[in-house]
């Protein structure tokens, strides 16, 4: 069933030690310690409000963490702008609401960052963008605007946009939750292909079929903590914690 089992997991690339994050008085993360290895696919799931989004958003500092330590690809995430840029240039992110740039064409959505951040020439960026659009299956949409695409196509474009910066790590925050059921599959297919190509991925998702197929490891979040961690088999066959059992029984 699991076709990625032969994949070689590499060295450690993300390490968080006891990170916390509060919004006002509310503590959304209460001490998260985790490690992710190169080429690993980690699926994060748990109840609403458990801190899943907050966790992956601290990894590229969209939310600065309050305490603890985050090291990505050997670089610590802190106030240092150089470090931040290094980390962000290695991490791509895909959002639940796509967050495409509505005033730019599909092609420009992809080429903007390579041109402006990496200083790539337009023709070169165009080539890369076209090959990425082919990879996610929408090369014929290049000259349209995001609002003219279907939801599934928009999310695939968002994935292509993130990939254009050639990141080592991809973060997905519920990439299919805003989609109609018939479009979920096409996005999951792209993500599966990406996982098989050896991309390091952290996905917040409740698509358990997909998760079971591609994930190397599950993290179960509840109330700002990682309650349980293990392989998909572990979770589907004999989860330890009561909270995990309860949650799985609700979503499966």
């Amino acid at each position: 069933m699991k076709n990625t089992s032969k994949k070689e997991i590499g060295k450690e690339i993300i390490s968080t030690t006891d990170i916390t994050k509060s919004f006002g008085k509310f503590q959304a993360l209460k001490g998260i310690t985790s490690k992710v290895f190169e080429k690993e696919v980690v699926v994060v799931f748990g109840p609403s409000g458990s801190g899943k989004s907050t966790y992956i958003r601290t990894l590229n500092r969209l939310e600065p963490h309050d305490s603890g330590q985050i090291i990505i690809d050997g670089v610590e995430l802190n106030d240092d702008v150089k470090n931040l840029q290094h980390v962000r240039s290695n991490i791509g992110m895909v959002f639940q609401q796509f967050n495409l740039f509505p005033h730019l064409s599909v092609l420009r959505n992809i080429t903007l960052a390579p041109q402006k951040v990496k200083g790539m020439k337009r023709s070169e960026a165009d080539d890369i963008a076209m090959s990425l659009l082919k990879r996610v299956g929408i090369p014929e949409q290049a000259d349209k605007f995001p609002s003219q695409l279907s939801g599934g196509q928009q999310q695939r474009l968002a994935i292509a946009r993130a990939l254009a910066m050639q990141p080592k790590i991809m973060l997905f925050d519920e990439p299919t939750s805003a989609l109609d059921p018939e479009m979920i599959k096409e996005v999951l297919e792209v993500m599966t292909e990406l996982a098989e190509s050896g991309m390091t991925m952290i996905c917040v998702t409740h698509e358990m079929g997909f998760a079971r197929e591609v994930a190397d490891r599950f993290l179960f979040f509840d109330e700002g903590l990682i309650v349980e961690e293990g392989t998909p088999d572990h979770f589907f066959n004999n989860p330890k914690e009561d909270r995990t059992k309860l949650f799985l029984s609700q979503i499966l």
Partner: protein, 386 residues
């Protein structure tokens, strides 16, 4: 059914209520139209025809008109070639533009200006056709760039034409020329300044935010006339001596005040646009590692400004009309000319209505052109909206 029939059918056959409204509108429209025609045909227009010069350029000395004419020629080239390249009017709009064009020429034509009006007409028509021709050749991209560049530099260019080679004192600028120049300066300085203030007010640096907020709220807190009066009495004390600004002119003072005023209003309009940008846009830009400058100029501002184009153009139209308030600085803009002549020249006593309606007509043309532009720009940008 053809279009007209359909229109007539829809208009006249709806419910009783629709018919009623249509009928009332037609009556009102007919009433106004017949009165208007009556007014135009029975009035004495000498008050306008004899004072064209004052209305258009104020007290610009004899022998200096070529400056005004050159400005008109440059503008007509710009306007009419842009019309073809950027606006692409429909036949209906072309007819409308021609009617207005001809009425303006008819109102202001005189024997001594005949030659200039002919040049003006030829140039306008020529530019339009030239642009049409060039848009079919590969030179179109260069021409387009040239036009954009000229639009950006039109105000400095106007100044140059007015000042070059020992031009007349700015206090002598007047009439519609003054309104146009004041509005042009106010908008082209006020807009970029307003952009900065809007960004400053949205900034996270407390000091910047406070300074910008105070500036905006102070300027908006008093009427323009109040600021202009302040400029009359107070500004000279602050202006640096060495520029000789004190004597140079109240025109400069009016420009400073109008620009400041425009910038404050523009800033608030743009701030509204900035607030309409979803947080996700900024997060997406951050996650792609875009720097602040790129984020602002390529992601945030294009979207923010697009949203507020109607409000922005409204502000510009308001500023344009507000330029007539400079009469408190003893400047004679077109409205002031239109008011003074029927009061002070015995020959034209009681002709205020004729004079003022021509003034209103000129204001209306510019305002309408601007608001039309706004709809155009909006429509052409509509494609990429969410």
């Amino acid at each position: 059914m053809n279009q007209q029939l359909k229109w007539a059918y829809n208009t006249f056959s709806g419910s009783f209520y629709n018919t009623f409204i249509t009928f009332i509108s037609l009556v009102i429209f007919g009433f106004i139209a017949s009165n208007l025609v009556g007014f135009i045909s029975t009035s004495e227009w000498a008050v306008v025809t004899e004072n064209k010069r004052l209305l258009l350029v104020g007290r610009l000395p004899q022998g200096e008109e070529w400056r005004a004419w050159s400005i008109l020629w440059i503008s007509s080239f710009l306007i009419f070639s842009s019309l073809n390249i950027f606006v692409k009017p429909s036949i209906k709009e072309l007819i409308f533009i021609s009617v207005i064009f001809v009425s303006v020429c008819l109102i202001f034509i005189t024997q001594d200006a005949l030659f200039n009006v002919i040049i003006f007409t030829t140039l306008s028509l020529g530019s339009y056709l030239f642009a049409k021709y060039i848009s079919q050749t590969p030179y179109i991209t260069i021409f387009r760039k040239l036009l954009v560049f000229m639009w950006i530099s039109i105000i400095p260019l106007m100044f140059l034409v007015l000042i070059i080679g020992d031009g007349p004192k700015p206090t002598l600028w007047g009439g519609f020329l003054l309104n146009i120049i004041l509005a042009g300066v106010a908008i082209s300085i006020g807009f970029p300044l307003g952009l900065l203030f809007a960004l400053g007010r949205a900034s996270q640096l407390p000091a910047v935010k406070i300074v910008c907020t105070i500036y905006i709220e102070t300027i908006r807190g008093a009427p323009l006339v109040g600021w202009l009066l302040l400029a009359w009495f107070v500004l000279p004390k602050f202006l640096p001596e060495f520029w000789n600004l004190n004597e140079t002119s109240v025109v400069i003072r009016a420009m400073i005040i109008l620009s400041a005023f425009t910038s404050a209003y523009t800033a608030e309009v743009i701030r509204g646009g900035l607030q309409s940008i979803p947080k996700g846009q900024i997060e997406a830009a951050d996650s792609l590692n875009l720097n602040l400058y790129t984020k602002l100029t390529l992601i945030i501002l294009p979207q923010a400004i697009r949203v507020v184009i109607p409000a922005l153009i409204s502000t510009f139209i308001a500023v344009f009309k507000d330029t007539s308030l400079v009469f408190v600085l003893a400047l004679t803009d077109i409205l002031q000319v239109g008011r003074i002549i029927p009061e002070q020249d015995p020959q034209f006593f009681g002709k205020a209505l004729e004079a003022l309606s021509v003034v209103a007509f000129l204001f209306w043309i510019v305002s309408m052109a601007l608001s039309n532009l706004s709809t155009r720009v909006e429509r052409s940008m509509g494609i990429g909206t969410r």
